[in-house]
């Protein structure tokens, strides 16, 4: 496991195997192979990231998909997702808030002005009620009336078939619903609903023709084996997008004292998820500022990532959008244009 590169057996080395299997044939790594990648020593990270970048370029292309997100309904959630500062079950300082329609329109406009093609409307709920869906419908109409043709995604928790159909009728093209972590680890993270309930919503979304956005959070006490398990479970879902978050230990949550994911571990995870999901949009999401800093973010972008959330997140702050756009420019990575997504 700590062998120097010159001592690696090239016939069984997972990086070389992945080069043939993933880069040449487009076949994602198996769970055992992902685990091997996650266990690679630090002196192999450079090779690993270079391969993950090649895979991304070959199977996804050079464009980067830029997205902004906003919280339509913040806090007061009845669920107990242990990482989340918006749960009403923990003594988090986050108070309930609703964003009004003019605020939503402004947020969508600010997002579109960065060159982003995606705008995701998020609510901290178990699932949407009539009031929330009505607010979403009104909000989407107002965004369109503002002359903003940005693609709209939603993340409103678990859905019924009727609600899925309603979102389709509103023109929502992608739905985010994260599995968050490996199936075997999920009961340690959430007890108020099951991994399977989330899976059911994801299948309904796919069957209704919406794009599926499903990812999770690295650093919630999962083992490397569970990290590998999660990557392969996501691959079996064949999501259009996987947002990769790194835990932000927020005050008041059960995970407030969890350590921040170390940069090298995070980079291995980025590359491993790319090698498990060669054709998927792999998005840098929350926590990258804490885990990577500026330098690591560039390494991640050159290690398999092909999408980012710019600006702030739901309750935490991100880097100003202009910093990320400058980074993409510096890396000569073009931003995907809206016409390419239609």
């Amino acid at each position: 496991m700590t062998a120097a590169p010159e001592q690696v057996d090239r016939s069984t080395d997972v990086v070389d195997v992945a080069r043939e299997q993933v880069l040449e044939r487009g076949v994602g790594l198996t769970e055992a192979q992902v685990l091997e990648v996650l266990e690679l020593p630090d002196d192999r990270i450079e090779d690993l990231l270079a391969l993950a970048h090649d895979v991304r370029m070959r199977w996804c292309g050079p464009e980067v998909e830029v997205e902004g997100i906003v919280s339509l309904k913040t806090g007061g959630c009845p669920e107990d997702c242990h990482f989340c500062s918006q749960s009403g079950q923990f003594p988090s300082p986050v108070r309930s808030a609703w964003l009004d329609i003019p605020g939503l329109v402004k947020a969508a406009r600010q997002t579109a002005d960065t060159g982003a093609t995606e705008f995701c409307i998020v609510a901290a709920v178990r699932g949407p009620d009539k009031r929330l869906l009505s607010q979403v419908r009104e909000g989407i109409k107002a965004i369109r009336d503002d002359g903003n043709d940005i693609q709209i995604a939603c993340s409103l928790g678990m859905l019924t078939q009727e609600q899925v159909d309603e979102l389709v009728s509103m023109g929502v093209h992608r739905y985010n619903h994260n599995l968050e972590t490996a199936r075997s680890h999920f009961p340690n993270v959430v007890t108020t609903h099951s991994w399977e309930e989330r899976w059911d919503t994801l299948r309904m979304i796919r069957d209704a023709g919406m794009e599926v956005c499903c990812g999770g959070i690295i650093g919630m006490g999962e083992s490397l084996a569970q990290r590998a398990e999660f990557a392969v479970q996501l691959a079996s879902l064949e999501p259009d997008e996987v947002p990769l978050n790194f835990l932000i230990p927020n005050p008041g949550t059960p995970y407030e004292d969890y350590p921040v994911v170390e940069g090298p571990d995070a980079l291995r995870a980025v590359a491993a998820f790319r090698l498990a999901l060669p054709r998927t949009i792999l998005r840098f999401a929350g926590g990258r500022e804490l885990t990577f800093g500026d330098l690591g973010a560039k390494q991640g972008m050159l290690g398999g990532i092909n999408a980012i959330i710019v600006g702030n997140y739901l309750t935490n702050l991100g880097r100003p959008a202009v910093q990320d756009l400058e980074m993409l420019d510096e890396l000569s990575m073009p931003i995907k244009a809206l016409s390419q997504t239609l």
Binding site: G68, I69, V70, S71, T74, P93, V94, R95, S96, A97, L99, G103, K106, A107, Q110, T111, T114, I248, P251, E289, L290, V310, G311, N312, Y313, L314, T315, N316, L317, P320, A321
Partner: protein, 61 residues
């Protein structure tokens, strides 16, 4: 008395971690004047934080 807008405790004392979090990751959550929890709305380009007693503050950006 002034309060830390990250943890809500009196401002005197060690708030190095709070200051770091506020600089990079977090909007203010507690009113610096009275330590009430504020209603905070984060948006892609900024934030607003409203104290029921002392009104609203916003991010500069």
């Amino acid at each position: 008395m002034a309060y830390c807008s990250y943890c809500g405790k009196p401002a005197e004392g060690d708030h190095e971690v709070c200051t770091r979090r506020l600089a990079v990751l977090d909007p203010p959550r507690y009113c610096a004047e009275c330590a009430r929890r504020m209603v905070v709305q984060v948006t892609p380009a900024g934030w607003t934080a409203r104290c029921s007693r002392h009104g609203e503050i916003t991010s500069a950006r």
